[in-house]
């Protein structure tokens, strides 16, 4: 009760709401994302008391993770890796005149995922953090590799192109200094700006936003037909569609929470894997990618569930699950608090208040989103000649604000061209982005496992789910290839 009362003061509620709104704006704008939003308010939280500071930060965190869906659905420009998968069905749905519907599905799935994972955090944090301990370098390597393979194999009809996109992504990910030892600098051509490699956010904006801007030039004067938007106070998805998608949301949330717990994997991997998984198990997989509800529910519940997931190892072990939680840990440290095994015992009220503030932040985020949908959806009605110059400006501002480094703009253009070429030739973008998200984890942890077990085969003999995953990652594409050849032969025979 103390917990609830301590969070539910007007001051704290206002701070959460402010956090949610600012976070949402940061999430919507390509290039600005949760880590930037949280890092920017960090100095403000300095002078605040602990709980209000946490309320503000949690509001920002939830708001910005969820805000990404707005630009993903309306403009096909995901602000963060987490909302990449949302573009697949959200954008086609918005294009067919159902923008408000798409946004309301997204908002509902988001709040479901967020609340699901915060309940997991409350009830299962000590237990689930044990799971994180069980993950060593070998298991990280195996999980990340299998994730890449899964996303490719599930791309019906474009599997080979998917693997090619993965390879291009992995190759570009190797630019920079080698992980673990930092001795070799690869493909930097003597430019120190390239030593840390390409920034993921810049890559995402380059690959998604730039081609979209180029396409928009073609029909810049085209007038978009105004959509029939009923003037309602807020929009909720139809009850029947919620009922139909509860299973998908639960599965997405479990997956998201699980992936959120593993440091480094994050919302991008969670939503893409969830999307692939939902497509695989769906009765109507052919509808995916054309603007179906399931496609939005599965990825939005998964990416929001990673927030609670990422907080689990942070609060229980002092191991941050993603970049944002790393900064939140910093903010707590500035308050003189060290998250770790003793945290929930020594600061029980604060521990529960943090979780409760996540809860409230999710609810406020949902309310904010369903109320603003009406205005957000109007963006699609803006004339392209007005809209896209603004989008371009936002993208550029966003990219610069990541590192305060102008060099990032140069390779933004390069990745824009790569994205355009891939898209024009019908190469799937999702595996490309995912290989960028996971490539670093794969390489680092492969090297670490080889150091720990002396050889690769030494690591393979370390029988556990790590080894099983690696074997699966090799066998799955093989099975697919054999199946494909058989089918081809049959059809040749028939002919």
């Amino acid at each position: 009760m103390d917990v609830i009362m301590s969070v539910l003061t007007p001051e704290n509620l206002l701070l959460i709401l402010a956090g949610v709104i600012i976070g949402n704006i940061f999430g919507c704008i390509p290039g600005l994302n949760a880590p930037i939003a949280v890092a920017l308010v960090l100095p403000i939280t300095f002078s605040m008391a602990t709980l209000p500071a946490i309320c503000l930060i949690m509001g920002l965190y939830m708001g910005s993770v969820s805000g990404g869906l707005v630009s993903a659905i309306l403009l096909k420009i995901p602000g963060t890796a987490a909302s990449v998968a949302t573009t697949f069905d959200g954008y086609p749905m918005a294009q067919s005149g159902r923008a408000t519907e798409a946004l309301s599905h997204g908002a509902l799935a988001s709040v479901f995922g967020g609340i699901f994972s915060s309940i997991c955090l409350l009830l299962l944090a000590p237990f689930l953090s044990k799971m994180a301990i069980g993950f060593g370098p070998w298991e990280y390597f195996a999980t990340a590799t299998l994730s890449l393979v899964l996303v490719c194999v599930m791309l019906r009809g474009r599997v080979l192109k998917g693997f090619i996109a993965v390879c291009i992504g992995l190759l570009l990910k190797t630019v920079g200094s080698s992980p673990v030892d930092g001795v070799a600098t690869r493909y930097t051509f003597g430019n120190y700006n390239l030593e840390t490699g390409f920034n993921l956010i810049v890559v995402i904006i380059g690959v998604f936003a730039i081609p979209e801007i180029i396409y928009s030039i073609k029909n810049i004067h085209e007038k978009t037909k105004p959509m029939p938007v009923k003037k309602r106070l807020f929009y909720l998805p139809k009850f029947s569609s919620i009922k139909k998608n509860v299973n998908i949301m639960i599965r997405g949330s479990i997956l998201g929470t699980f992936i959120g717990i593993l440091p480094g994997m994050g919302g991008g991997a969670a939503s893409l894997i969830s999307y692939a998984q939902a497509k695989r198990t769906s009765k109507t997989p052919e509808k995916f990618g054309t603007g179906c509800e399931e496609g939005i529910y599965c990825c939005e519940s998964a990416n929001n569930a990673t927030t609670g997931g990422a907080l689990i190892p942070m609060l229980a072990l002092g191991v941050p699950g993603d970049t944002v939680t790393a900064i939140i840990m910093g903010a707590l440290a500035l308050q003189g608090l060290t998250p770790g095994p003793l945290f929930s015992m020594n600061n029980e009220v604060l521990f529960k208040s943090i979780i409760f503030s996540v809860f409230i932040a999710n609810i406020l985020m949902f309310l904010y989103q369903i109320v603003t949908i009406r205005y957000m959806a109007k963006i699609t009605e803006v004339k392209k000649s007005y809209l896209y110059p603004w989008v371009t400006a936002f993208c550029i501002t966003g990219v610069i604000s990541i590192n305060n480094n102008l060099f990032d703009l140069l390779y933004l253009i390069v990745f824009g061209i790569i994205g355009y070429v891939l898209d024009k030739n019908d190469y799937p973008i999702a595996p490309f982005i995912l290989s960028f998200v996971l490539g670093g984890i794969i390489e680092e942890n492969l090297r670490r496992s080889i150091i720990n077990h002396n050889t690769f085969m030494g690591a393979m003999q370390n029988v556990g789910f790590g080894t099983v995953f690696v074997v699966l990652a090799v066998l799955l594409p093989l099975f697919y290839a054999i199946n494909y050849i058989r089918r081809e032969r049959k059809s040749v025979h028939k002919a």
Binding site: D181, V319, A333, P341
Partner: protein, 351 residues
Amino acid sequence: MKRKLLIVLVMVMTMLVSACSSQQTDSTNKDREEMNGNTASDEGSTKENDDDKGSQAFTMTKDIKIVVPFAAGGVTDIPARIFAKYMDKYSDVKVEVINITGGKGGSAGAKEVQKADPDGTMLVSQPVAFPMMHALGIQDFTYEDFEPVGQWLNSTLAVVVKADSAYETMDDLIAAAKADPGQISMGSVNGTLPFFAILEIGAQGDATFKMADLAQTNKSSELLGGRVDGYVDAIGAVRQFIDSGEFRCLGVITDVEVAGYEDIPTFAELGFKDFGYLKQVQGLWAPKGTPKETVDYINELMKLAAEDEECQAEFANLAYKTSYMSVDDYTTFMKETYATFQEKAKLVTGK
């Protein structure tokens, strides 16, 4: 409707730009105004130091930005933000931390400062990574390419094993590594100070450890999961596990006992020698050519902040210590540190 939307967009844009450029202010503005209501008037007298005002009379007119070359909220960033707050308290101008990340071991941030105007408005926080990265041949600049200003942070490393480990003391650990060379795995992030610490323990104990590389963020879970036998990290990062009884600390790499952990043997007590370089210290560097008055002025600010009791308390809370050195002492210290790491790097490169 369209006009309304445009107005909203413009507002968002303005907010965004202001958020990006100002990096937010903090609440100490008020204090500053109270402290020096007079200083705002004598603006414009900075660079005209020709009339020999002396360092006492010297004041800055432009805000001081301390560049932390790593991400916000990290182990380098947090103490820097706390320290900047107290420097700000004693300064006429605003002192704030910005993060410029990138390059190996924070080289992008250092290079930005190297290029900046030498007027004391851009400083880089020097982590211990700089001398190490230079010794390993990864960074191409040294303190000589900057004007060293002073030191401000001191933190101690600790050697930990699991509480149920067979190694009760440092001697047990070294004896085990001697008996079974290369089989006892000690974790650290490659090329960081703990990495050198393990090499030094091995060299002085005549033992060989297996050097396991840990990810920057989840070192503790590797030990909890039993995938390494022990690791070395800042005491501030591991003390929660020592307090919770999950880790056992075999020794702290310092010659004075750590407050609150007096029963943990120090490296001096354990009989180690020449471990003075294994300290996580941080200093400030200004661009080459910064006038002496400016450097002295900032050094004075660092002294005031380091001696501030509240600042010391905040640092102690995170198991850090404030540290102060005069410009000359710090420059000498940098020279020695670079020389020592040059020597120690041979343990790694084997040359």
